[in-house]
Amino acid sequence: MSEIGDIRSPQGGHRRTVILRHVGIFVSLISAWEIACRLGWLDPLFFPFPSAILTGFWRLYVAQGNIWPHLGLTMAEVLVGFVAGSAFGIGLAICVGMVDRLRRYMKPYVVILEATPRIAIGPVIIAAFGFGWTSKTAIVMLVCFFAPFVNTLNGMVGVEAEKLSMFRSMRASKTQTFLKLMLPSALPEISAGLRLAMASALGGALVAEFIASNAGLGVLINQYTSTLNMASAFVCVLTLSALGYFIFRGMEELDRILVFWNDRDRTARVGERRKAAWAAGKGGKS
């Protein structure tokens, strides 16, 4: 262990300086902000003291704890809308992808839908579903539908002709061709579509809450800014940053699981697992 440590020490030392520099840059940025506020260069009315934001975190999360229901609601809207919207998108793409004739007639609608900013339909949806969580979830669904739909369709259409010929020469049924060839071939693109959808889901939920709502982080931000409680508004924004970051990491992880064969280490591990399963007499995968 110590030997390895010795060999690696230049690299380890390098990593330590990198971390130190990151901390240094972060601390100086925050200090510069704090100092700029104290010297009156930044108006603390709009750009609150970092220290005020820090105490805001304490107040919103612990002392008053009033962010929790809003945070929970926004997350629920995002999750439900994402799952429903992307499932709908993938499902519809599969239906269209399996029927050549349908695919040809879908094109103009896809193009028009792509050109329309999805959020423009937001007020219509709110008028239809009301101010509650259903309209927000519906808007997130709308925002999350498109990328998985288009990517799934592209992935299915993009299957190599020779592979399709191979399946045909093996006299595979349409269902077999879909399950064993087209769907897994499309997985990398489907996964990329899901990542895009997830990235826009959070934004979609927020905008929907800005338009009209009675709860959620978007409403909270609106309330705090209208009462010039900027520190609390920043707490909400930073909460969203953290949420977005974790969603992003989660989607990356999902991609590594779904499309394991594009990741070298994971491919090796899955190979070992399949080998063990085979030895245990369960071999072969459906």
Binding site: E160, E162, K163, S165, M166, F167, R168, S169, M170, R171, A172, Q176, K180, L181, P184, L187, F260, W261, N262, R264, T267, A268, V270, G271, E272, R274, K275, W278, G281, G283, G284, K285, S286
Partner: protein, 268 residues
Amino acid sequence: MTAMAVETATAGDHDAATLPVIAAHDLRKTFAGGSVVAVEDADFQIRPGEFISLVGPSGCGKSTLLRMVAGLLERTSGSLTVHGQEVTGPHPTVAMMFQKPTLLDWRTAVENVLLPTEIAGRVTDADRRRAMDLLELTGLKDFAFSFPSQLSGGMQQRVALARLLQTGADILLLDEPFGALDEFTREHLNVELLRIVNEVRSTTLFVTHNISEAIYLADRVFVMTPRPGRIAGIVEVPFERPRPLSIQQGPEFNALVSRVRATFESAA
């Protein structure tokens, strides 16, 4: 391994040597409403266990001919029979291998080999053993649980070859299977192919644009010329199969190469 050879050879054994396994009469394929003639009036008969090379430049219709035999492409006119039956679509006694390995990236080598069995029905323990045996036959025993991305191009084609044999088909169609590989790997795989084909006693159609490769592998070489695509001549190869690579240095082999070339030139 002998058990396997018997298993794959049965389909051709009924009328052994008397009836052709594949027969074409005035076989014709045109594209674009008849303006492009891909295959013109092909006539040939292939006996059980024969190894036929189809050699010719790109666009001579050799792949089109192969795809018609595979039942992947409809003929325009003429007749084409496999085991005495008119070809109307993919047939269980015919299996095809492509220039690309066409492996499924999410399946290990042995899972890829098992694909034809899965498509045909349920996978039994016997099928699994057979898949492993075939990977051993193609020299990939230690890579059964590797994924395609972990294998070299040559190894991927070996998996594809094992998958081809797993179908149990007694007619094997190979469309430039080693064309994308380097010279050394290709020669090596050709030697292996002859050994394996001898072991499973299949009837084999091999498409290539390499004259030496065509002669080295085949009992008969169908020489094809383009525009319109047709079989300009058939060259018999007298050597016993399997054969060592060294026969390619002999004067007899060179004479055969010259004959194939002459067939091209007389047609041009």
